[in-house]
């Protein structure tokens, strides 16, 4: 004899409750939080370096996620911002609990911007909310116009897509129009900008986008 027991439990319920708790913490501290995602090597950390050169580092904190090494955190140390490096071991994404635990080591008073730099991966990070206000996906122009179609959840979840390394466009057979078309097909509300961390193109607009979403300073 068998009995069927109805359960109807969200499998990601635990992650969702950590994400909600994180969101409450960010609300209390008045911090705007982005979850920065991309393939490995698209330029997330470099974009973060360029950002820290242009905003007041006293108002910024960073949570770095990598499977191994503290290299990214070390690159950002010179800015004097509070940084927590999470080494996930073999986990390919950051989740709500990891961020919740990291926040125990971070004083968010006076922090108007928290950047969570996720593990380089266009697949899994999009599945896990961590309490962020916006997901930002960085796509470098060397990666191909088809990526929004190949990784739809990432591009659907993102609020902003930053095309990086646009200084390389003259050397590539990459169509920005086609990439935009593909991304819009998957997410018509996606905002876009083009930057080059090498030439500096577009970085002012990127910082303006962040500033417009940060709460007014004291």
């Amino acid at each position: 004899m068998t009995i069927k027991i109805q359960v109807l439990n969200n499998i990601l319920e635990i992650n969702e409750s950590y994400a909600e708790e994180n969101r409450r913490i960010f609300r209390d501290s008045g911090t705007f939080v982005i979850n920065l995602m991309s393939s490995p090597g698209s330029g997330k950390t470099t974009l973060l370096e360029k950002t820290l050169e242009r905003v007041d580092p006293r108002e910024v904190a960073v949570i770095e996620g990598d499977m191994q090494t503290t290299r990214d955190a070390e690159r950002l140390e010179r800015f004097g911002v509070p940084i927590v490096q999470i080494n996930t071991g073999n986990a390919c994404h950051l989740d709500g609990k990891m961020i919740h635990d990291a926040l125990r080591d971070l004083d968010l008073r006076g922090v108007r911007l928290l950047v969570i730099e996720n593990v380089g991966n266009l697949v899994c990070p999009a599945e896990f909310r961590v309490g962020e206000h916006a997901k930002v996906v960085v796509l470098s122009v060397t990666e191909g116009e088809d990526k929004p179609l190949k990784y739809p959840l990432m591009f659907r979840e993102a609020a902003l897509c930053v095309f990086n390394k646009v200084d390389l466009l003259p050397h590539l057979d990459f169509s920005l129009d086609e990439a935009l078309h593909n991304a819009r097909q998957v997410n018509p509300d996606l905002e876009f900008m083009s930057v080059s961390c090498t030439s500096g193109e577009g970085l002012a607009a990127w910082v303006d986008w962040l500033r417009a979403r940060m709460e007014p300073g004291g």
Binding site: M1, T2, I3, K4, I5, Q6, V7, L8, N9, N10, I11, L12, E13, I14, A91, C92, H93, D95, V123, C124, E127, F128, L149, P152, L153, R156, R184, Q185, V186, N187, P188, D189
Partner: protein
């Protein structure tokens, strides 16, 4: 791979539901997974078999009901199956659509042998 952590979550949910009832063995666990989640059922089953060892769910069959992606047009209210991740209304061409099915990820029920 996150199928492993999902498998662990599924096991935890099933064991919790079982502990609220007098259960000798969990025979089957039915999952509802929307296709936008990108779950690979065979991988999930493999991972589940691994995490469930030595529990009352160790011989449980994992059934994954995969739900196709459906969206509703914000303009003409047509509800349609989303093909090839194109979130554009096939009736009127409006790109502003709401996903009404495809993001589900839950344990629907467990079938058990009572104690």
């Amino acid at each position: 791979m996150h199928e492993m952590s999902l498998a662990q979550n599924i096991l935890d949910i099933a064991l919790k539901a079982a502990s609220a009832n007098r259960v000798k063995k969990i025979l089957r666990i039915t999952i509802r997974a929307g296709q936008l989640r990108g779950i690979v059922p065979e991988q999930l089953k493999f991972c589940f078999g691994f995490v469930a060892k030595e529990s009352i769910a160790e011989e449980a069959e994992l059934v994954v009901n995969s739900l196709p992606i459906r969206a509703r047009c914000g303009r003409c209210t047509e509800t349609f199956f989303v093909k090839e991740y194109s979130f554009v209304c096939p009736a009127c061409g409006n790109p502003k659509v709401d996903v009404v099915q495809g993001m589900e990820l839950l344990v629907e029920n467990i079938e058990v042998e009572p104690a």
